[in-house]
Symmetry: C2
Subunit: 207 residues, 2 copies
């Protein structure tokens, strides 16, 4: 148990839990990590982990530093007319990233992933469990195709982040959200819903 005393002690315990969680999630993945293992790594009781961070889900989000839970944020975008889904997804995505507070926190995750192998593994777990597993499974997509479609979706989404917010290449850096939506949506639509060539198959099906 961390040292006694009020605030500093609590802060130390929180930090120890986050450190143990980071190592455990990165090493074992989201599914393999348990609150029990994380608590043991931090030298605290599992109940204390729940006390400070809530569920394993909440702890994972806190460990990654995610300002929001993507599955919750896109909830509304998933409802309604399926035809307009890609547009709604990009609009919601830009709402988070264009916002100074949530955008800054989200960018910190990307920066960290590029600098540290551990953080890169955390980001991979985050994309896999939070975005691919929680969002793509709610869409009319063949389950066998979800990993590939998810990775392609991530490639366009992360690239948009890099060009708009890091490299700041114009006109993407300062284009109004609705322009970005219009330019990118057909790519997202194809990655999510349209036929893709099979792995190892011909470059274009029927081509």
């Amino acid at each position: 148990m961390a040292r006694t005393g009020r605030r500093p002690g609590n802060q130390d315990t929180r930090e120890a839990i986050l450190r143990a969680a980071r190592e455990t999630f990165a090493e074992k993945g989201y599914d393999g990590a348990s609150i029990r293992t994380i608590a043991a790594g931090a030298g605290v009781d599992p109940a204390l982990v729940h006390h400070y961070f809530g569920t394993k889900d909440d702890l994972f989000l806190a460990t990654v530093g995610a300002p929001l839970d993507p599955a919750v944020v896109v909830g509304a975008a998933l409802e309604g007319d399926p035809d307009g889904l890609p547009e709604r997804l990009i609009r919601t995505f830009l709402g988070v990233w264009d916002n100074p507070v949530t955008g800054k926190a989200a960018l910190a995750i990307v920066r960290s992933a590029v600098q540290h192998e551990l953080s890169a593994r955390m980001m991979r777990e985050f994309v896999t469990t939070r975005i691919i597993r929680r969002i793509l499974t709610r869409l009319p997509i063949d389950p066998a195709e979800i990993p590939r479609r998810g990775a392609l979706l991530a490639s366009q989404a992360v690239g948009l982040i890099m060009v708009r917010y890091v490299i700041k290449l114009e006109p993407l850096a300062s284009a109004p959200p609705e322009d970005v939506v219009a330019w990118i949506a057909p790519t997202i639509r194809r990655y999510l819903f349209e036929p893709l060539p099979l792995p190892g198959g011909p470059a274009e099906p029927g081509g």
Copy 2:
């Protein structure tokens, strides 16, 4: 002039030139930077800059740390059947990035851009002058559309790098190059050659 003496002196001078070049390119952009200004910043004669680094082009590539000149690398890909151009571009791109030596050097540029504002500006100059200006201008694209098409191309290319080499999300992380080519080519084709909605226009032209 840097201190006298053989090797260490030369090394110091090279470093001083690279440092001055980095600051000058980042501050004034590729076009605004002159060998004269860079030499003054390094406290050396312009002739010495040319002696060590060749042309302004060569110095720029050395300053960015680019392992290759993209315009030279894709030279062959630009020739031949225009229909297969996106596939050839991605194939060439993956050839550089999948190669352990050039891939590592290229990844260092991305890592640096994410960490330092100065490096991000250098990467922006690099993409603008080396890729957009040198490659896209050789393609049958309306010049007014080149910046937008270039930024969209960059968004997919940088995102592919991030997902395949940094976050390492499967199946993109270890898919054979030809699969990646087949999955990504239609996106590159659309960004380069197909109609895009006008800025501020309706989400889909005629839609």
